[in-house]
Amino acid sequence: MSLVNFTAREITCKLVYYGPGRSGKTTNLQYVYGRVPESRRGRMVSLATQTDRTLFFDFLPLELGTISGFTTKFQLYTVPGQSYYNATRKLVLQGADGVVFVGDSQARRFDDNLESLQNLQDNLLAQGVDIRQLPVVFQYNKQDLPRDLILSHDEMDDALNFRAVPSYPADALHGTGVFETLRGISELVLKRLAVGSPVA
């Protein structure tokens, strides 16, 4: 998928929310969905299990209107976090322009975060994408939980963010950090417009 289509004068950003199961990826999308005027959002597609776990993926198209003569569209995806849905994750990751890694700040999910991050790297690599070349930001969700249950922003950075990409503490349920994260990844992706060669 191309980021910029100069012929159709269209910018399409595919952003994928990645992370361990129950870290709050879908919650992020739901919060965004709730804040976008109806005219700007498409139907949010969510395939969930009975227990509200993402079965396949969530998809939220956002129409940002015409910016500098370009019809700008954002497509937000989430992947199913559970390890046994790796095929789906690979599928969703295809053609991603940027990835938001939603980490679960709870100390007990420490290993899940690492495992998911490793899985992200592997899946990208399988598609010939070096994670170092792809815009990635971290979101450390559930920072609203009691201090003794969670790792702080810095601790999460130490554990996951060894390339020092932008990272955001968040409480996706209440919206804290959701738009900051979205803005962060969007800017990283859009800034590649200038450096990346425009692909038609």
Partner: protein
């Protein structure tokens, strides 16, 4: 949202003074023929000086002239609001179309474009589109475009492409006229000198002036007594002093801000505006780069039409490559220009090296420069003025030559050296050429046949202009054997033109001629008279003293020591030139070398005359005789008079048979 034009804001209700006359004239011209004269028209003035009045007056007048015209007036805030509303409703294109159909678009207060990149881009697009269809756009601002903070360069250029005009504060007379007109409109009568008193106050904002008038009217309405000038001044003066002069400027912001403030700050809107800014920045980054390149290269004097064409386009494939190629071309031009300028300094600023779109012209110019730039033939370095032998016979000539060398083109111009063959004209010419060359600049020193030869070659190559230029650059022009141009009409024409050009340019000219100028046949009188116009000096054949000095020097350089007697003897031998005397000496030296003896006067006599050295010979040699030995008993013994080797008899016979 479009505000209807205020019916009071017409040209006929506008007081025209020195401060706004230009702006009113331009505005009327625009109203009379929208889209043709000044497009866009940009009017700027401090608040309260009638920008909006002018803007609306244009609308009224345009409509009055052609009622079918669609005229739209709106402030920038309304423009922005409408844009946001249209985008929110997903009708961005409809919004654009709406303005594209407007014949006269009047936009007020564009200073609020500051930091609104998205709106700037919209306005740019709109301006371009309206201009392209000959539709008029008029804008007003409280400051000139260049002072609107963070305003897109392209917009500034677009505005500058039309007409930017300012309205100054009204002068006293205009203020009185305004007050009178307004008082009349309000049917308010004031005592003598009241309005004049108010006008004399330092109120140069029309809006404040009218506010002052309102105060006067209100005061007079409740006052039983008529208002006096002093009273009026105090009443109004107090008001003015307490009022904040910048308040009106800030007013529109305050007015527009409730609308902005009422909009609920939304996370998504914030997000959207930041994304818009990022996208605009990234998508339009190439425009910034191209604009920067245009400004840079224009600043350095290069034509940037190629790049400006890009800016007019909405999208460009691979602008980086185009910029890179443009810069490569510029570098090539710079190199070519540097080379050309080294060859011909006048090419330093040549337009041929300023257009990267036309490298062929630059290459052609360089090729010409190379051809023309080759320095004209220089004087031979063999001869130098300081080695010239001076004697009583050539003192006058040498003095003239030295004067020319010291003050070229000042004293004797042209200098013509006349003398028979082998009297040293050429030596002197080249020696003078070298002296002139030391002063710097190319010195042309060549013979007339060479000059003609070059001319023929230049004609043949169709490079006559370059050939001429080459000689015109010479700081001095020395032509040997000018008599040889006789009957060569084209050479004479060229020489005549060159002569005039060089004299006009203050360059020295030196000629040599084998014949006196008045005996030159086949040379055009106009050229001859010019040659005669300078100094003509005659070189006599070198006398024995000159020959002796030259021979002494030759001996010194060849043997290390100079035998004065030998030199004197050889110099005394008959020779019509120094060259002949030198040849004679050479013959003696070769004979001495062959026989392994030291050359001496006696030996020379033996070699030259075939005589054994005799005491009398030394005496004779020192005397100035013709060198001829009188025929006598020993006449047949003179080596010079005898044939030593007879040719073969058979050869002679054949010779005679012929």
């Amino acid at each position: 949202m479009t505000v209807t034009l205020n019916p009071l804001y017409r040209f006929d209700t506008l007081i025209v003074g020195a401060a706004n006359r230009l702006a009113v004239t331009a505005a009327k011209a625009v109203a009379e023929s929208p889209g043709t004269v000044y497009n866009p028209l940009f009017i700027y003035a401090r608040p309260g000086l009638g920008k909006t009045h002018l803007l609306m007056a244009i609308g009224h007048a345009a409509r009055a002239i052609n009622p079918r015209l669609t005229v739209e007036y709106l402030t920038l805030d309304e423009f922005v609001e409408a844009f946001h509303a249209a985008i929110a409703a997903g009708h961005g294109e409809a919004y654009r179309k709406r303005f594209l159909d407007v014949d006269v678009l009047l936009v007020d207060d564009v200073q609020f474009l500051t930091h609104r990149r998205e709106m700037q881009a919209e306005l740019l697009r709109l301006t371009d589109a309206l201009q392209a269809t000959n539709r008029q756009i008029v804008l007003t601002s409280d400051r000139p475009p260049a002072e609107i903070e963070a305003l897109d360069e392209r917009l500034i250029r677009r505005f500058a492409g039309g007409l930017i005009i300012d309205v100054a504060a009204p002068d006293y007379e205009t203020r009185v006229a305004i007050l009178r007109r307004k008082a009349e409109e309000r049917r308010a009568g004031f005592g003598e000198a009241v309005l004049e008193a108010v006008a004399s106050l330092a109120i140069d904002n029309v809006r404040e002036l009218l506010g002052a008038l309102n105060r006067l009217i209100a005061f007079q309405a409740v006052s039983e007594q008529a208002l006096g000038p002093e009273q009026a001044r105090m009443l109004v003066g107090g008001e003015v002093e307490t009022s904040e002069p910048t308040a009106p400027a800030a007013q529109p912001v305050v007015e527009s801000s409730p609308a902005v403030a009422s909009a609920e700050p939304s996370e998504f809107d914030d997000f959207l505006s930041e994304i818009a800014a990022t996208v605009a920045q990234q998508v339009d980054a190439w425009r910034g780069k191209v604009t920067a390149a245009v400004l840079r290269w224009q600043g350095e004097g290069f034509r940037t039409a190629q790049l400006e064409v890009l800016l007019a386009q909405e999208m460009v494939n691979d602008p980086e490559r185009i910029l890179r190629e443009f810069e490569e071309d510029v570098v090539r031009l710079q190199h070519m220009q540097a080379e050309a300028a080294a060859l011909a300094p006048e090419l330093a600023g040549s337009a041929a090296f300023r257009d990267p779109a036309n490298l062929d012209a630059a290459e052609e110019a360089l090729r010409q420069a190379r051809e023309e730039g080759a320095p004209p033939p220089p004087p031979s370095p063999l001869w130098r003025l300081d080695t010239m032998v001076e004697t009583a016979a050539n003192r006058v000539v040498l003095e003239a030559v030295r004067t020319v060398a010291a003050e070229p083109a000042h004293r004797y111009n042209p200098l013509v050296l006349v003398g028979g063959p082998a009297v040293g004209k050429t030596h002197l010419l080249h020696a003078l050429g070298n002296a002139l060359a030391e002063r710097g600049g190319p010195v042309a020193c060549l013979s007339a046949p060479e000059f003609t030869g070059e001319l023929i070659e230049a004609i043949d190559r169709d490079a006559i202009a370059g050939w001429r230029a080459r000689y015109r650059r010479a700081t001095a022009f020395l032509l040997d054997d000018v008599h040889l141009i006789a009957a060569k009409d084209r050479t004479q024409d060229e020489l005549f033109v060159l002569f005039n050009a060089l004299i006009d340019a203050g360059r020295q000219l030196v000629f040599t001629s084998a014949a006196p100028l008045d005996e030159l046949t086949g040379v055009e009188p106009r050229l001859r008279s010019r040659l005669e116009g300078g100094l003509v000096v005659e070189l006599s054949p070198p006398d024995a003293a000159v020959r002796e000095r030259v021979l002494l020097r030759d001996l010194e350089s060849k043997l290390g020591t100079a035998d004065p007697q030998l030199a004197a003897y050889v110099a005394s031998r008959p020779a019509d030139s120094v060259r002949a005397a030198q040849a004679l000496l050479q013959r003696v030296l070769e004979a001495a070398s062959a026989q392994g003896v030291t050359p001496s006067a006696a030996f020379a006599r033996e070699v030259i005359e075939g005589q054994t050295p005799a005491p009398a010979a030394a005496k004779r040699s020192s005397s100035r005789s013709s060198g001829l030995v009188a025929p006598g008993a020993s006449a047949t013994r003179s080596r010079e008079k005898m044939v030593w080797e007879w040719p073969e008899v058979s050869e002679r016979v054949i010779e005679e048979w012929r």
